[in-house]
């Protein structure tokens, strides 16, 4: 193994040149748009031709945090994220433990479990929207038959119920993904550990808390980061199923409305929308830091 400082000069230069295209690509695709968005967020600005940029400082951010629509979409996003990630994690862990066990047709079951995740979200959202329909939806029918719902209740049109319905779709769609990640983590635990534990007389629960969970911790961390970041910017499911009506609007759905519906608005909402984008970015960044700290994950 080479020690730092023992590389040849030419090797270092080669490495430098090889990494440059990557840096440029990241700069163009990630940092430039990010910087531009942050810059725009300080202005009253619209893409309408002839619109005069007007410097506002932090006014867009101040307005944002006083806007009830922003606050409710922030709350909706956090609510969605908390419940969908929690349920997905628990169900995914259970699924992974089952799939990790030895049984016949394990390969087939593993593949089958992945189907919901393989369907494009736009397609599955539309499919679930139909299943939730009050007149011909199969889910509505089942819930009526079980006496849980009154006949004719529109699941996606009822406050409270609509958000739960959306979370259910996300859980259905993403649990396989969580299970897959956790399964990969489980696979690296050597069987000898469990054998030794069994010989020492450890119960299944003891084995789970003393072997499985600690070894799985980095995987759990990565899984939770992936899922939380995805959930915090949830867009397609909500947009297709309710367009954000009945208290289901999330930050990303609100952001689309500001940046697309009102892009040429003479009210100069492009800067305002940029401020919202920055806020979403910050929220996601903060969550990532919290996770990495609390789970002690290192990126290198």
């Amino acid at each position: 193994m080479k020690v730092k400082g023992t590389y040849k000069r030419s090797d270092i230069w080669l490495a430098f040149w090889l990494i440059i295209p990557t840096l440029i690509a990241i700069g163009i695709t990630a940092f430039y748009p990010l910087g531009q968005t942050i810059y725009d967020s300080f202005f009253k600005w619209s893409l309408k031709p002839g619109f005069e940029r007007e410097f506002l400082g932090f006014q867009n951010y101040i307005n944002l945090f006083q806007n009830p629509r922003f606050l409710s979409s922030l709350w909706n996003t956090i609510y969605f994220t908390f419940f969908s990630v929690l349920i997905e994690f628990l169900l995914g862990l259970g699924t992974a433990l089952i799939l990790n066990a030895d049984f016949k047709l394990r390969g087939l079951v593993r593949a089958a479990v992945l189907i919901p995740w393989a369907i494009p979200t736009a397609v599955s959202s539309q499919m679930w929207k139909w299943m939730y329909n009050d007149q011909y939806g199969v889910i509505s029918l089942m819930l009526y038959n079980l006496g849980i719902l009154e006949e004719g209740t529109p699941i996606l049109g009822t406050p409270g119920m609509a958000m739960s319905a959306i979370i259910a779709v996300d859980v259905w769609k993403t649990t396989p993904f969580v299970a897959l990640l956790l399964l990969a983590g489980l696979q690296i635990i050597p069987n000898e550990l469990y054998e030794a534990a069994r010989i020492d007389g450890a119960s299944i629960w003891k084995q789970f808390t003393s072997i499985t969970l600690p070894v799985l911790r980095p995987t759990i961390g990565v899984t939770l980061i992936f899922r939380t970041l995805d959930a915090l910017r949830v867009f397609d499911i909500v947009y297709i199923m309710t367009q954000g009506a009945v208290a289901t609007e999330t930050l990303a759905v609100y952001n689309r409305s500001l940046l697309m519906d009102n892009i040429f608005s003479p009210r100069g909402l492009f800067g305002y929308g940029s401020a919202l984008s920055v806020v979403i970015f910050l929220i996601i960044g903060i969550f990532t830091l919290i996770y990495m700290r609390s789970l002690n994950i290192k990126l290198d």
Binding site: L47, K48, P49, G50, N133, D134, Q135, Y136, G152, T153, P154, L156, G157, T158, P159, T242, Q243, G244, A245, V246, A247, R256, S257, M260, D261, N262, I263, F264, S265, P266, R267
Partner: protein, 413 residues
């Protein structure tokens, strides 16, 4: 042989110097795209120097809006001819070629005045009406007859008939578009106007003007009453056009509010209600302010301001061709899309294919535009939210109208 090839090559090169290619966006609902391809083939035969590329768009108007936003904001010269929803001209006007001087070239005197007005922004014409839309009432002829009801002329008559028949038949009374999206704004405008109310007038917010407030309140209250009393299923708060149509076409509703496109589908051979459907104007609100009202919909053709002068000229030719009487008749017959030119309705071919046209011609003549404003989407959003909160039981009509008035005023002033 060689000489011919060389000659041909030179000829093509010379021709290509004078020929021009333009791009046009188009919808693909029902048969409209196939019909457009047929029309464009004819146009290119008549104009060998012009080649037209067609760029199909998503079905949803909102998604089309997103697409245009990215085209126009980036300043790309393509597409040249833009198919525009009737609510967009004010917002997109800075990106569209001013066609005011071409008023006579397009023969716009022969068009429905409402459709031309909806394309006029601050006195400038920015697009040419291509086909129009207006809200209409579909009803079950057989069921009205069975229970001895006339075709309803007022909302109260519709309410009574729908409630009675739906209870006896075990189906829905009246389905419409109650999901929180642009379609709800269309429906709200119809209820409000037919009750003699008004939300915006001449760019001013008049929701809470004493002159209109009571009628606005009555209209929203009536919409809510339809749901509370079970005349409309609670699910209308999630329905768009197609959800309502599926229910009606399946024979599960007595009345439906929808656009004309549903007619040919409801009467298709495989439709369970084929031949049992009638079509009429939407009912009047209660006297003395009540009147019939239909919201103006439809699509227009405008030209991208970044196109080169030659492309603009070619685009004008294409638009003139597509909006000519002959082509409007063709479109009405084969794609079922309603003409914007009055003359096209008198053509026997149009009437043969759409025998309800003469009865509801007045609806199209008098269709009422939604508020014309460069911040239309924000205005529409506020209307949708206010009414949807009433319909889903999150607010009362009074509170919703108050907050609508407040929010609209903060937008406009």
């Amino acid at each position: 042989m060689k000489k011919v090839v060389v000659l041909f090559a030179i000829l093509t090169m010379v021709l290509s110097v004078f020929s021009i290619t333009i791009t046009m966006t188009a919808g693909a609902v029902g048969r409209e795209l196939e019909v457009l391809y047929e029309q464009i083939a004819v146009f290119m035969e008549e104009n060998p120097d012009i080649t037209v590329n067609v760029l199909p768009m998503p079905n949803s108007s909102t998604d089309r809006h997103d697409l245009y936003v990215t085209y126009l904001a980036s300043g790309t010269p393509d597409p040249d001819v833009l198919m525009l929803d009737v609510i967009w001209p004010a917002e997109f006007a800075p990106f569209l070629v001013d066609l005011t001087d071409d008023y006579d070239y397009f023969g716009l005197d022969a068009f429905f005045p409402g459709t031309v007005a909806s394309n006029t922004v601050d006195g400038s014409l920015v697009a040419v009406p291509w086909f129009t839309d207006a809200g209409i009432l579909y009803y079950r002829k057989d069921l009205l007859e069975k229970y001895g009801y006339d075709v309803p002329e007022t909302w109260d008559e519709l309410y009574t008939a729908a409630k009675d028949i739906s209870a006896k038949e075990g189906i829905n009374g009246f389905v419409w578009q109650g999901a929180r999206y642009e379609g709800l704004t269309c429906d709200v405008m119809e209820f409000v106007h037919s009750f003699g109310g008004e939300i915006m007038k001449d760019g001013k917010v008049v929701v809470d003007d004493p002159e209109y407030y009571d009628n606005n309140l009555a209209a929203i209250t009536f919409m809510n009453k339809l749901i509370v009393d079970g005349v409309s299923p609670a699910g209308v708060t999630t329905y768009m056009e197609e959800e309502a149509r599926r229910i009606f076409q399946n024979g599960d509703a007595v009345f439906m509010r929808n656009w004309p496109y549903a007619w040919s589908l409801a009467n298709a051979p495989e439709s369970p209600v084929a031949g049992k459907v009638g079509i009429t104007v939407l009912p009047k609100g209660p006297a003395p302010d009540g009147r019939n009202s239909a919201t103006l919909g439809g699509w227009n053709l405008g030209i991208n301001v970044n196109s080169s002068p030659a492309e603009v000229e070619a685009s004008k030719k294409l638009i003139k061709f597509l909006t000519s009487k002959e082509q409007q008749v063709y479109k009405a017959v084969y794609a079922g899309q309603t003409p914007t030119m009055i003359e096209a309705y008198n053509d026997p071919r149009t009437i043969e294919a759409n025998d309800f046209y003469p009865d509801i011609l007045d609806v199209f003549l008098n269709a009422e535009p939604r508020p014309i404003s460069p911040i239309y989407s924000e205005i529409s959003y506020e209307i949708q939210v206010a009414v949807h909160q009433v319909l889903t039981g999150q607010s009362t009509p009074e509170r919703a109208l108050d907050s609508l008035a407040r929010n609209l005023k903060s937008l406009v002033e």
